[in-house]
């Protein structure tokens, strides 16, 4: 029983972690909250759905949609954040411009796809249960978990072992020092946005697969849950986002298991609030970006 709950928490937490990593990357590098992240999550899910509906095999559709999400991330930076960076506009103003972009993305999604909920695969996905000892799961869930973990490992590799990753960590630590050391700041930030939004888009597609549903408002819930995740894990910490994601997954799964599903969100945000008050730095408390 416990094992099953933990596994459910794993499936839930993996997607939360993937989404939250996007927040953490941007916060670590720019010290701001990207409130358009959930909009990218949503539109990538729609893009993935529509490519599949057009006949593309799922893996290809997913990859294309994820890349599209990354590109949107770069555009998002160019339009909403970069101009303000040059003008030293503080932390509040970029928040608002990201809201503006989120509205625009939402409007575009609505214009293209309409307001109805869509289903990744009409008639339901292959949900044959797989039994492994005490636990049961579907092939879809296994795919989702595998993809999420794979992406997180890829991120960890990039941050630890590539020049780009080193540059990202340098800019996150100290932008001025990084510039002095010859790091191309704007390009590094653009790359960070690409990665962050790609991860957010991936989370969107995986969520769409998990529930076989894609809707305009699917970002609303996870937008704030993502905040709870990064608070728990520590605002700029990669490891923290991953652990935080699973931790929130556990909180929510247990809440539902013990009959408290109506209060589930209150528990999530309650835990977040307590952490903020007691240990604002989170579990892995650091403002600098770390790699997993």
């Amino acid at each position: 029983m416990i094992a099953q709950q933990l596994l459910n928490a794993l499936f839930l937490g993996a997607v939360y972690a993937l989404f939250a990593l996007g927040y953490t990357l941007i916060f670590g590098v720019l010290d701001i909250l990207n409130l358009a992240h959930a909009a990218v999550y949503m539109i990538a899910a729609f893009a993935g759905y529509s490519l599949v509906a057009d006949g593309l095999p799922l893996p290809l559709a997913a990859v294309l949609a994820i890349v599209m999400a990354g590109v949107i991330g770069i555009l998002l930076d160019r339009v909403a954040f970069a101009p303000l960076r040059q003008r030293n506009a503080g932390t509040l103003v970029p928040l608002i411009s990201s809201i503006g972009v989120a509205i625009v993305i939402g409007a575009i999604a609505r214009g293209i796809y309409g307001i109805d909920e869509r289903h990744f695969v009409e008639g339901g996905l292959d949900a044959t249960p797989i039994h492994l000892g005490p636990v049961t799961f579907t092939s879809v869930e296994a795919l989702i978990l595998g993809t999420a973990i794979g992406l997180m490992l890829a991120l960890s590799y990039v941050l630890r072992a590539t020049t780009l990753g080193r540059n990202i960590r340098a800019v996150a630590q100290d932008r001025i020092a990084a510039a002095l050391l010859g790091v191309d700041i704007e390009r590094t930030i653009a790359a960070t946005f690409f990665i962050s939004s790609a991860l957010g888009g991936a989370a969107g597609i995986l969520t769409g697969l998990e529930y076989n549903a894609v809707s305009l408002d699917m970002g609303a819930q996870i937008e704030l849950k993502g905040l709870a995740v990064i608070v728990l894990g520590g605002m700029g910490s990669i490891t923290g986002a991953v652990i935080g994601g699973f931790a929130i997954g556990i909180v929510e799964t247990l809440a539902v298991a013990y009959g408290l599903s109506a209060w589930r969100d209150a528990l999530t945000f309650g835990v977040m609030f307590v952490i903020l008050v007691a240990r604002p730095a989170g579990i892995f408390g650091a403002r600098a970006l770390r790699s997993a």
């Binding site: 932390t91 409007a107 609303a220 937008e223 589930r264 969100d265 977040m272 008050v277």
Partner: protein
Amino acid sequence: MNLGTFYAQHSRLIDEIGINALLALSLSVSLQAGQLALAQAAFAGIAAYVSAIASMQFGVPLPASIAVAILASALAAAALAYPVRRLRGIFLAIATIGFGEILRVVLNNLDVTGGAEGLSGIPNDVTTPIIYGALVLVAIVLAIVARTKFALAVALTREDENAARGVGVDVGSVRFASLVLGGAIAGLAGALYAHAFYFLAPTDFGFPRMEQILVWCVIGGVTSPIGGVLGAVFLSVLPEVIRPLADFREITNGLILLGVILFVPNGLSTLWAKRGS
């Protein structure tokens, strides 16, 4: 068209603008002190429900139900101020957002608040003059406060907390007072909302609403006292003005928002300031 028909056609919007302006003022009080405390929508929600329940279940007359509601939201603000006293910037923002979400769930689950379906049939006894009377009253109070030493303390707290402490400002008290004052004003807005629109749902005061209020304040300009009001009026009227654009309303809204923030990042009110002094 004469004034009467104009009012009749747009009375809901006119009332909304007044209440939105109050909500914007409630947030601007916190922002003036440099606190990104995003709990105003929640405080308004608490007051709205308290006022509605007081009227409907206890038959409390309007003025008293508003007073009780303001008291409730101010107390909530005071209670919230303590655990978040050491939080700054984005951490404070997230904590207060969390508070708002917890409240939303509570409102969704209690019988007395009508759960997810909300409350309907609230006595519709708040009229446009009452709303704007309240707005004017709050504006006057804030204008008076602006001339006191407290206003200087608020500005210093916003600019540099430690330097402010160094010149004798009790920063903790300033933060507390600004949060409670903001909570009270939000409470007034919430109580008026309940009686003006006679229907409440938990989603009325959630994060989307809070986001909206924040946008009004930043678009209008955080440093100016009338900035929030300006932003609220502009962004409340805008959807009506662009209504003819039909399906392009939403994207136009977003693009205008982006345009304003990118070209006038300090807010619309600074356009006036430049022309003034």
